[in-house]
Symmetry: C2
């Protein structure tokens, strides 16, 4: 173990005051809920759990101090703080009753289906407190979907006599938690299912969940790097850095990192889509900025690009759909493209055209996630600058930050937030709730003032088409173009284009002044 | 400014005890020196400064407390701590005499030639203490080579009445400092020239200079990322990460990061060259490891690759030389390749063949630095695994860490080391030395016990052919395959291949226990 690893083991996350005495708290009902859309259909699919009330933690007499048996599973991509949800859950269960057990399902939801688990002990957990990664029990992307998978999960839950199952995951995994909750009630199984909102992408947000865990640490880690690169650009004065950031469905990470580092140019997918921008229009605006900077002798810059940009550009979406249709056929060629799509295709640099034509999945579909958007943009910029007879210099350097930010040591914020989420999950199970999501509120306030609620997962759902089928899903939270965070960005960004207002956040600090050890995400503050 | 930026401004680097009272110290001579090679030729080129003694700081009566006028220049790529050399230099000059002046030459050595400078003030420097980057005065890669450039530099030095000029740079820049020192003496100019050893690559090392500044911070920043990725690999268990690290001429960074993070496989260019390994041989060994891991169900891994690997592979060097010859000619083609080079070429994946054929500089030369070695290796591995009918899974993810580590906030070690180097430079000038390199010794000891010496730069030189011409140069320090650091790596690496011994250093910490705030590079300890 490294010295910092050892040190972090002994960090004790603060707790909200309301969680001080687990025996003197309970939940109060705050009125029935309904789905955010397709209410009838959601109710039909969740007859047992639909419409349950929002609940709020309050002082009172909590459930009996009986031993509880609880399972926990990590689902999907890593996010800093996962281990702390587990330690918070474990500590709360042991406090509720020392004979409680926490079973960790191994390798993600498939661990539930296949009954692969480990009875977690204090000794084992002692090495994972405030540590990054999901390696204590691993994670996976299996979805519990088939009747057989549900039946096997039920068997395992019964065999282990689980009072509860905590699913730590993103929107899909929480939907899965709600489906399991419903199924278990239906089959007369006592196992309560609780979801915990995890995802670095930040697209699991709603009226109550200000942010999913892992977002803070990931953005701070990316911002450390972006700040370093910006300071390098400002010193060397000869490179334009195109930095792609993880986050396919939404651009929250790009927005947060923009607010933290104030780069020269930032693309927000949701804005591109709202304005129905073409790739050419996006490029032209960016090129204008580079050209104007060049005229001032600033042959350098920092540009942030969300990973999912391409899927927000309406014409690119259409082009990809057409290519998927055409190229899936034997002997299919791009001859069949519609006129607008042909124009879009012709505008792309050769390298990207090749990627679109050659890099296809087994179904013949274009592999959108493989398209190097940062390269695409820099190639387009370069070609256009040449056309414009640009007199400055343009040297592009490409970066992609993603995996670097998922398994870091959790920031103090994420460590604390996750530990509380774990405690709340234990309490929801003790109080007999199922199909609920653990939620900690008032995150802008000091930890002591944080509140605790439980949200019926069905209240976050609507129906959407996924892989050709109508499914109940938790609506993904996109960047709100009318929200405070985007407005602040939109107000300031013009200033960042020509002048340099780079900010250098530096590496995450764990000790020292709270102004840099305990900062919360900018999009919250 | 970010909160951490503000906090770092007030950090006060410790000083070696010997530097406590600048008025009570001087340098003692420790015997004449000679060049490490081509002694006669080096002496011929440096008739005035050759053979001067190594000098060591000692208690005694130092030079008079007269005001000094000194210029400072940053040369070459960014390295964390550059600003601290300047503040250390400034503070020492002001302590020597409050009416001393420090002139910062702007944008690198061209600032000297063109007389572009700024008279640095305490107020200005106050915002750069312990900060990353070189943006206070910028940097550049101009070499002072032509007679005209020398003459113009002399004019500027005379006009400013400089007592000294401090050149902060790598091996080439320090060579340049020695040339300037010689030239100034020759022309009867009083300006003393002092070099300061900077480079994140770590290839400016010798018997006295344990490490150049910037190396520590860069390696810690890369190791933070590598550790994060390793923890992610261990959690997701489905990706093999190919991580390329900056450092073309030597593999010190890869070695240091290997010792810090203990990945599954690390390539060291110097070893590849010493063993005369072919690309195929390198790939085979790596593939064996991946195959054996796959058999144990470990479909993941972390591999470090030094940026300069390709230039260490003898057959690749030959291939590139032949391609440069063939393709520079009008209508040249690869038909003319020798049989061994043809074989090497055919072994390369299509993408890399294309890069070699198409991506050429204005002289028709292959752009070696553009070759994506991490991609090359993963493509070769993938193809070979297919041939071997590999039953496991292989998903490669590529990373390149370079610019992220050059302009970070300097670690406490680099901040302290650089501040001392700045003070030493002022003292060398006060004492009238020229053509010397500032050097702080005993870096393994507590700061208080650090020693101070001055090294005649000519003693680090030999003659080498650069761009077809014999030139006096400081020999680049390569990884010593018989040294302690490499031996430790060689002893442990087999263990890392199949078992996972990943270490997670985490982000650089500035406050807390010295075990993680003040660690020195592993290759030193």
């Amino acid at each position: 173990m490294t010295p910092l690893q050892k040190k972090r083991l002994s960090y004790i996350p603060k707790k909200p005051t309301i969680l001080a005495d687990l025996n003197a708290i309970t939940f109060a009902e705050k009125g029935a809920t309904e789905a955010i859309g397709d209410k009838g259909e959601i109710q039909k699919r969740f007859p047992q759990t639909y419409g349950r009330p929002l609940i709020k933690m309050t002082h009172g007499k909590g459930g009996a101090s009986k031993p509880l048996k609880v399972g926990v599973v990590l689902s999907g991509g890593q996010a800093a703080g996962g281990h702390n949800v587990i330690t918070g859950l474990f500590d709360a269960l042991k406090k509720i009753h020392p004979e409680s057990h926490l079973f960790g399902f191994l390798g993600g939801p498939s661990g539930i289906v296949d009954g692969k688990y480990r009875d977690l002990s204090e000794d084992e957990l002692a090495n994972y407190r405030n540590q990054g990664g999901f390696d204590l029990i691993g994670s996976g992307r299996t979805k519990i979907e088939s009747e057989e998978q549900f039946a096997k999960s039920l068997e395992v839950a019964k065999a282990l006599e689980l009072n509860g199952l905590v699913v730590i995951g993103g929107d899909d995994s929480n939907t899965n938690a709600a489906l399991l909750a419903e199924y278990f009630i239906d089959k007369g199984c006592k196992t309560r299912v609780i979801g915990v909102p995890k995802t670095i992408d930040g697209d699991l947000q709603n009226e109550h969940v200000a942010i999913s865990f892992g977002f803070d640490t990931a953005c701070k880690t990316y911002s450390e790097m972006i700040g370093n690169i910006a300071r390098d650009a400002l010193s060397a004065k000869k490179y334009t850095h195109f930095i792609k950031l993880m986050g396919r469905s939404a651009s929250h990470i790009a927005l947060e990192c923009a607010l933290q580092t104030q780069p020269n140019y930032v693309l927000i997918g949701e804005e591109v889509e709202a304005k129905n921008q073409t790739l050419q229009a996006i490029a032209q605006d960016l090129i204008d900025v580079i050209e104007r900077r060049g005229k001032e002798g600033k042959n350098y810059g920092v540009i942030l690009i969300p990973e999912g940009l391409i899927e927000f550009i309406p014409e690119m979406k259409t082009l990809i759909q057409e290519l998927n249709m055409l190229l899936a056929q034997e002997g299919g060629s791009i001859e069949g493209l519609s006129a607008p799509s042909k124009k879009t295709f012709d505008y792309l640099p050769k390298e990207i055209q090749d990627q679109l034509l050659l890099d296809r999945d087994p179904h013949g579909n274009v592999q959108v996630s493989h398209i190097q958007t940062e390269m695409l943009l820099s190639h387009v910029v370069k070609a256009e600058l040449k056309k414009r007879n640009f007199q400055g210099k343009f040297n592009a350097i490409h970066h992609f930050f993603g995996y670097e930010g998922r398994s870091c040591f959790p920031s103090n914020f994420d460590a604390t937030y996750c530990y509380s989420l774990g405690i709340v999950s234990a309490l929801l199970i003790r109080e007999g709730f199922t199909g609920y999501m653990s939620c900690v509120t008032n995150l802008r306030e000091p930890v002591e003032a944080w509140g605790v609620i439980g949200i019926p997962i069905t209240s976050l759902m609507n129906m959407e088409v996924r892989k050709g089928k109508e499914k109940p899903v938790i609506q993904k939270a996109l960047v709100d173009l009318k929200g405070q965070a985007f407005k602040r960005f939109a107000r300031d960004r013009d200033k960042w284009k020509l002048q340099d207002h780079y900010q250098f956040p530096g590496p995450i600090q764990f000790e020292g002044d709270p102004s840099y050890t305990d900062q919360i995400p900018k999009i919250l503050s």
